[in-house]
């Protein structure tokens, strides 16, 4: 098995509060890994550390065997490690197609490419991916006028457009109408299988994550609590206790 992301003994605290303490985990290439834990357990902090949003206090983070904990967000993104945001961030003043086009991987362009226009190939790719997430009919609308769920799909499509090797998704089903969650799970799985993108997902919805992930990590109070397959985790007493609040 092939490790694409390796987190070793990572700690991060803000002021006096320890958000992550000696967290270690590995994400296997081509698989879907889940990260769960009760509110405040440090999941988003860990994500932010991995994508370079803030420096870590100690430990190491390696992506494709390269140390990334000292790199800024853009450099990590250009290595092929992307993230989506919990509050869903898209470019609201542009339409969907433009949002897609701006998401073309810049690591694959040199400076002169920046001064050309996008050609048919790129437009077709944008259309295909918008179709993939079901936004093709809305592709000429301003992204800011889409509903929250539609924006989430757009953000996902933009991430795919960027051809990442690995994608970190922060609560992808949060705020989505329950009847549409199946559609989202389906697309995530297809992206993983068809495009070969490794997924690392923070999720609160147990049904979703147990359905999708090969491996699940559980955080509690800033520390790693358990690791295992969905079955292992569901039957793990420590995990159950953490969620129900009994210490």
């Amino acid at each position: 098995m092939n490790t694409i992301l390796e987190v070793q003994e990572v700690s991060k605290s803000f002021g006096g509060v320890s958000a992550n303490k000696d967290i270690s985990l590995t994400v296997e290439r081509g698989g879907i890994t889940g990260l769960i834990g009760p509110n405040g357990s440090g999941k988003t902090t860990l994500f932010n550390s991995v994508v370079g949003y803030h420096p870590i206090d100690s430990g190491s983070i390696k992506f494709e065997d390269q140390e990334i904990s000292t790199l800024p967000v853009q450099k990590i993104a250009r290595l092929g490690l992307l993230r989506t945001f919990q509050q869903t961030r898209i470019y609201s003043a542009m339409n969907c197609v433009e949002n897609m086009l701006i998401s073309l991987p810049h690591r694959k362009m040199n400076f002169r490419d920046a001064f050309t226009r996008n050609g048919n190939e790129e437009y077709e790719r944008a259309d295909r991916l918008l179709e993939f997430v079901g936004l093709y009919e809305k592709r000429l609308l301003l992204a800011g006028s889409l509903s929250f769920g539609q924006q989430k799909l757009l953000e996902f499509a933009m991430a795919l457009m960027n051809e990442p090797a690995a994608l970190l998704l922060d609560e992808p089903t949060a705020g989505i109408n329950p009847t549409l969650i199946n559609g989202l799970i389906d697309r995530l799985k297809r992206a993983n299988v068809e495009f070969g993108i490794t997924l690392f997902i923070i999720e609160h919805n147990m049904r979703v994550i147990m359905n999708m992930a090969d491996t699940i990590y559980c955080l509690a109070h800033g520390e790693m609590l358990a690791k295992g397959s969905p079955d292992d985790i569901q039957n793990n007493q420590k995990v159950i206790d953490a969620y129900l609040g009994a210490h």
Binding site: G52, Y53, H54, P55, P72, V73
Partner: protein, 303 residues
């Protein structure tokens, strides 16, 4: 260059000159701190960065100057400026500020910049572009064989500034409006939910700020000079102080105000009086750059 080196060596030859420079700086810096406090107040409560701050100060100065020109005791200028600027601040709030509070920050910045221009030009039309000052005619105390002169007027100025500051702080701590202001500063929505009329709070805060600046200006005209176009530099000074000290940090604001006063005096001594405006602005850039470096360590940007 030789001149500069000569000025610096003077500081080492006669250490007492340092004391003079620091004292001069502190006395004027106290007034900068006042204006900065007002800026921080408006900034914290309404998230409006008021570039017209300095023009409120200069306006207050002209109130006192006009009183003096017309035979009234100049010291009366301080409370009169306080009141007049309070009213002006209230009007400006209702006409302009209230409409830019909810918008993005550049809008409020540009609107207050426009106000600054209007005020500076009106003052120029009304009073001309010469620098003005009011001589209270009080004596000067001399120390250290005449090296250090402390005009009693300046001393009175500092005392008035301190009294005003103390008054405002006590008001903020113990009055209901003061509490309402602090609550709104922390979380406007929550304040509204709890029944505080945030519109009234905003109007009050902005007027209070204008009044504080007016009083500070009335004091400044007695210990320094005013001129219609000095406003923007005062605004920048206030901005530097608040940026250096941080928003909720009152002792920091005082320290930074005194510090800027002293630094400007040092700069004026070493490089020459013509550089004083330049130094105030350069301090701004230095503070911003220091903040930038601090933020970069945390990989954040300065918003």
């Amino acid at each position: 260059m030789d001149q500069i080196i000569g000025n610096i060596s003077l500081l080492f030859e006669f250490p007492v000159v340092n004391l003079k420079i620091v004292l001069d700086g502190i006395m004027i810096g106290a007034l900068f701190a006042l204006a900065a406090y007002g800026l921080a107040l408006v900034w914290g409560v309404m998230n409006v960065k008021n570039l017209a701050q300095g023009d409120f100060v200069i306006s207050g100065g002209y109130v006192a100057w006009w009183l003096d020109q017309n035979g009234f005791p100049a010291l009366l200028g301080v409370p009169v400026a306080f009141l007049i600027l309070w009213c002006i601040g209230w009007v400006i709030y209702k006409l302009v500020i209230s409409r830019v509070i909810e918008r993005d920050l550049f809008t409020s910045l540009l609107a207050t910049f426009g106000l600054a221009i209007i005020m500076a030009q009106i003052l120029n039309l009304m009073f001309g572009s010469d620098t003005q000052s009011v001589d209270l005619g009080y004596e000067t105390i001399y120390f250290f064989d005449g090296f250090i002169d402390v005009p009693i007027a300046k001393l009175i100025g500092v005392l008035m500034a301190a009294a005003l500051a103390a008054g405002v702080i006590i008001f903020m701590k113990s009055s209901r409006m003061g509490q309402a202001i602090r609550a709104t500063a922390q979380d406007a929505r929550a304040a509204r939910v709890l029944g505080i009329d945030t519109e009234k709070v905003y109007a009050f805060t902005f007027s209070l700020n204008a009044a504080i600046c007016g009083a500070a200006g009335a004091i400044i005209v007695m210990v320094w000079v005013i001129q219609p176009f000095y406003g923007i530099t005062h605004s920048i000074r206030a901005f530097v102080i608040v940026t250096a000290a941080g928003l909720g940090n009152l002792p920091g604001v005082i320290a930074a105000g005194l510090g800027i006063g002293a630094l400007e005096q040092y700069g004026a001594h070493i490089f020459g009086i013509g550089y004083q405006q330049a130094i105030a602005v350069l301090l701004l850039l230095i503070v911003l750059i220091i903040r930038l470096i601090q933020q970069r360590r945390k990989r954040q940007s300065l918003q």
